[in-house]
Each structure stands twice: as structure tokens, then as C-alpha cells.
Symmetry: C2
Subunit: 249 residues, 2 copies
DNA sequence: GTGTATTGCGTATGGTATACGCTTAAGAGC
DNA sequence: GCTCTTAAGCGTATACCATACGCAATACAC
């Protein structure tokens, strides 16, 4: 069952299992210190400001010292993306799956919203970090009494995770674009589209523009759109659960 | 109705409306040339290889020449992300919305799959490029006979777009990670998790691991998972349409 | 032909990740 | 306590990157 295998480098890093040896000069930093400093920089100045030099400066060390703890900047980014996920909300036990997943998704949106830069970090593989797995576990647990088999549960959670990530990425980057350039993306957006969109080539879009959908102050409202999309997805999950349990029961 | 406003710089760029003047030295390049070259580089060597110098070399020009056509690299990325979207599939007119959107989503996945780097380009605002709007229009059209009002159609399409993008990003980056490191993410993944995941802290996840869900060759199958998630989402849309039309009709 | 606008491009600046090797410090064994 | 071994700290160097600036080359307007 538990055949011992050599754990991949990323796993040992994220779980703090890098072997610590006795001999030699004492380390003045820890991986946790470095991660914390990098997260601070990203929170304050954005992910673009996170350079090895900047993080080292934050810690009062030299740039190259960091490479004794972390193989590359990519490893640091991996650490950051796990560290940004504080623990998932502790859901009461008796909840039905739908309220459970709704709370879970809202919680995830909230946590990630506190560290908006997470959505810019490229995914480098399946989840292995402790916090990532913690969230994963809680979502699976919410599906506990649905009668789905384990594989389907994973599929549902993956889908939801994908959706929340996409939603967040869109809303964060849109509102960033809006903040940088309010005139262009506010009222003007609809008008600019109207000038450029030809009714013959874009019939359906023209109708939408004519109906004034893009005339609002902000073309995209995170909260509203997020809840809307989420409930669409969960309706889909409900239909799926019903189909599965009907077939088996 | 059509109050003339000054179009934002991005719009004039993407629609080829930058004013062309007569006097002075003749330009030896066009924005389209530059975009094409950049796309070639990205297709062949990945988005990371796209530097102003590399693109200029591809065209046999000097680096700085590009800046006469494009204000910054960000503008170039914007052009690339519109250019990567070839035209949407031409859907027959009589289709019901669900087959229409399914074909649309599959088509989008296929097109974006041919230029996987698109998912790495940060979104800088609402869609304004001609190809982006073209796709948008076709999705709206597929919802034409559902009885939804224009705003709801936009919400549904945005949700679907978000989902497809997220799906693609996940599947592309996962399979990249898998290609780079097959042992770690193949069979080993489940075993590595098993060694590190404690059943008390991660009860639901442990059950999934024990069930062998992560034991397959590839932990995540694009095709299967994509269709699965898509049908979940479309089930949700169906439920939404039913609710709306029931209330109004 | 002359003036002028515009492109092409060389150079310079200040940033980036990170490879390498030397210096320094700290525990291990004697 | 001395020496050896090992690892950390870090200065330097390399090879990129985007892009600001200024000047030379060029082509149309008059």
C-alpha cells in the first residue's frame, strides 16, 4: 500500500520536508521567512514587483542568499500560491451539498481576493501544497452525502475550482483595467463598440449594444456576475447528481 | 445615437484604424506583419520566447523599429490574443441553443488549443478586438430563441467564456507540467499524495486517494473533463432558462 | 530643389534571473 | 582546543529584457 517512493522536489519543498543537516554554517533564513516576505511584497506592490532582489531586500539579505533555500523563482511562486490560501471555512457538518459548496466558493473568492496576484501565477501541475489540498478536501467533504462516487466528486470539484479561478481572474483583471483607464472602460465602452461594430457582421452583438447593456458605469460587476455564474454551475451539478442517483437507486 | 467619441487607442489599434499619413519615409512594416511574426514565434517557441528583439529578428528588422507601430509590448500581446482567434464556426441557423453553444465551446477549445499561449496573456479589459467580438456575437446568436433578455444572454456567455478559458488554462498547464515531469505527475502523483496526506486532517481526500482515483496514467484528461464540466455548466443554463421563461410566460 | 514629417535604428539605461566561486562560519571528531 | 568538513552568505559576471532618446535616412508636399 504505502510503498515508499522518493517524493518529488516540489512536494518536499511545500511540505517543509527538505532535509535539514547539522554541519556547516547556520542558516539565517527559512523557507517560510522568504515566502512571507514575497507575499508581503506581492500584496503591497503587485506580483510584478516580486523579484529575487526585491524579496531579499525585504529580508535585509543579499539576492543570492535566497537560492540556498529555493532552487528558482518558480519554486518561490509555487510557495507563494500555496501560502496565499489561508485555511478554508469550517463548514458545519449537517449542511446540504449546495449550501456547502456555495459557502466554499464564496470563501475561496474572498481569500483569493485578498491576494489578487495569485491568479497571475501559472499553474505548474496538479495541487500538492498543503493549503491547496486542504481546500480540496473541504469541497470533497461537502459532496459527502450526495451518493456520487469518488471520481465524480473529483470531477465536480475540479470544475468548480476551474470556474472560480476563471471568474476571479476575469473580474480582477477587468477591474484593474477599469481602474487604470476609467473613461475608456466605463460609459465609453458601449459607445466605442457601437461605432466599430457593424450590424451585418455582428447582428446579435448589435442588438445587445442597442439594448444598452454596456451603458452602465462598470460593464462587469464582480459580485453579481460571480453569484450568477456560480448558481448556473451549481444548477448543473444538481442536475448531474439527480441523473446519477436516479440511475443507480 | 451615434455621438462621435474619440476611440480609445486599443480600439483603433485592433481595428486597424491608426491614421495613416502621406508625408515622410515609407513604413517597411505593418501592424499585421508584426502580429503575424509574433504569433509565429509564440507558436513555435512559446510565449516566453516572444521578445521585441526576437520578433524583430523574425522580420529582419531592428528591435526599435517595432515601436513605430506598437506603443509597447502589451499592445503587441493584445494584438496577438485577437489574432489567435480565427473565425468562429458557422453554425446552421435552426440549431437549438444547447447544441449551438456546445459546438461553439468545442470550437473555441479547438482554436485556442492551436495557440496554447493565449491563456497566458493577461486580460487587460473587456473584449474589443474584432475576432473576440465575432466569437462573442456567435455565442449570443446561439441564445437567440431562448427568450432570455439581452442582459441575461451576456451573463450566460460571459460565464461560458470564463469557464472555457479556465478549463483550457488548467488543461494546458497541467499537460505541460506532465510533459516536463512525467514520473512525478503520472503514476507517482497518487502515491506521493498518499505519503503526505494525513487521514485525520484530510478525511475526504484520503478516501479519494484510497479509491485509486489518482492512480491513472494521467491524472487529468482534457477531453473527458472538459466535456464533463461543459455539460454541467450547460445543465445550469438550461435550468436558468426554464426559470426565466416560466416566470415571464 | 527644398522643407518637413516620419521611419529606421544605434546606443544607453536600468531592470531581470541565475551560474560560479570565494569567503566565512559552525558543528564533528580528534 | 585545534582542525577538517560542510554549508551558508554573497560579490561578480553573464545574458537577457523593455524601452527612452536622438540622429540619420528617406520620401512626399510644395
Amino acid at each position: 500500500m504505502t510503498d515508499e517512493i522518493e517524493l518529488p522536489g516540489e512536494v518536499t519543498l511545500l511540505w517543509g520536508l527538505r532535509e535539514t543537516v547539522r554541519r556547516g554554517r547556520k542558516p539565517s533564513l527559512t523557507v517560510a521567512d522568504i515566502t512571507r516576505a514575497a507575499v508581503e511584497v506581492a500584496d503591497a506592490e503587485g506580483l510584478a514587483a516580486v523579484s529575487m532582489a526585491r524579496v531579499a531586500a525585504q529580508l535585509g539579505n543579499s539576492t543570492m542568499a535566497l537560492y540556498r533555500y529555493v532552487k528558482s523563482k518558480d519554486e518561490l511562486l509555487l510557495l507563494m500560491s500555496d501560502a496565499a490560501l489561508d485555511g478554508p471555512p469550517d463548514l458545519p457538518d449537517g449542511l446540504d451539498w449546495r449550501t456547502g459548496l456555495t459557502l466554499w466558493a464564496r470563501g475561496l473568492l474572498k481569500v483569493l481576493g485578498r491576494h489578487p496576484w495569485t491568479v497571475q501565477i501559472p499553474i505548474s501541475g496538479p495541487p500538492v501544497g498543503p493549503n491547496n489540498l486542504w481546500w480540496f478536501d473541504r469541497a470533497l467533504r461537502a459532496l459527502g452525502d450526495t451518493g456520487l462516487d469518488e471520481e465524480d466528486k473529483v470531477g465536480v470539484v475540479m470544475g468548480l475550482l476551474t470556474f472560480v479561478h476563471g471568474e476571479l481572474r476575469l473580474s480582477i483583471e477587468l477591474s484593474k483595467g477599469y481602474a487604470e483607464n476609467p473613461e475608456a472602460f466605463g460609459r465609453q465602452y458601449g459607445k466605442a463598440l457601437a461605432q466599430v461594430v457593424d450590424a451585418r457582421r455582428f447582428p446579435a452583438l448589435s442588438k445587445v449594444i442597442a439594448a444598452g447593456v454596456f451603458e452602465g458605469e462598470v460593464p462587469y460587476d464582480d459580485e453579481v456576475e460571480g453569484e450568477f455564474g456560480l448558481s448556473l454551475f451549481l444548477d448543473g451539478v444538481a442536475a448531474f447528481i439527480e441523473r446519477r442517483t436516479a440511475r443507480q437507486g
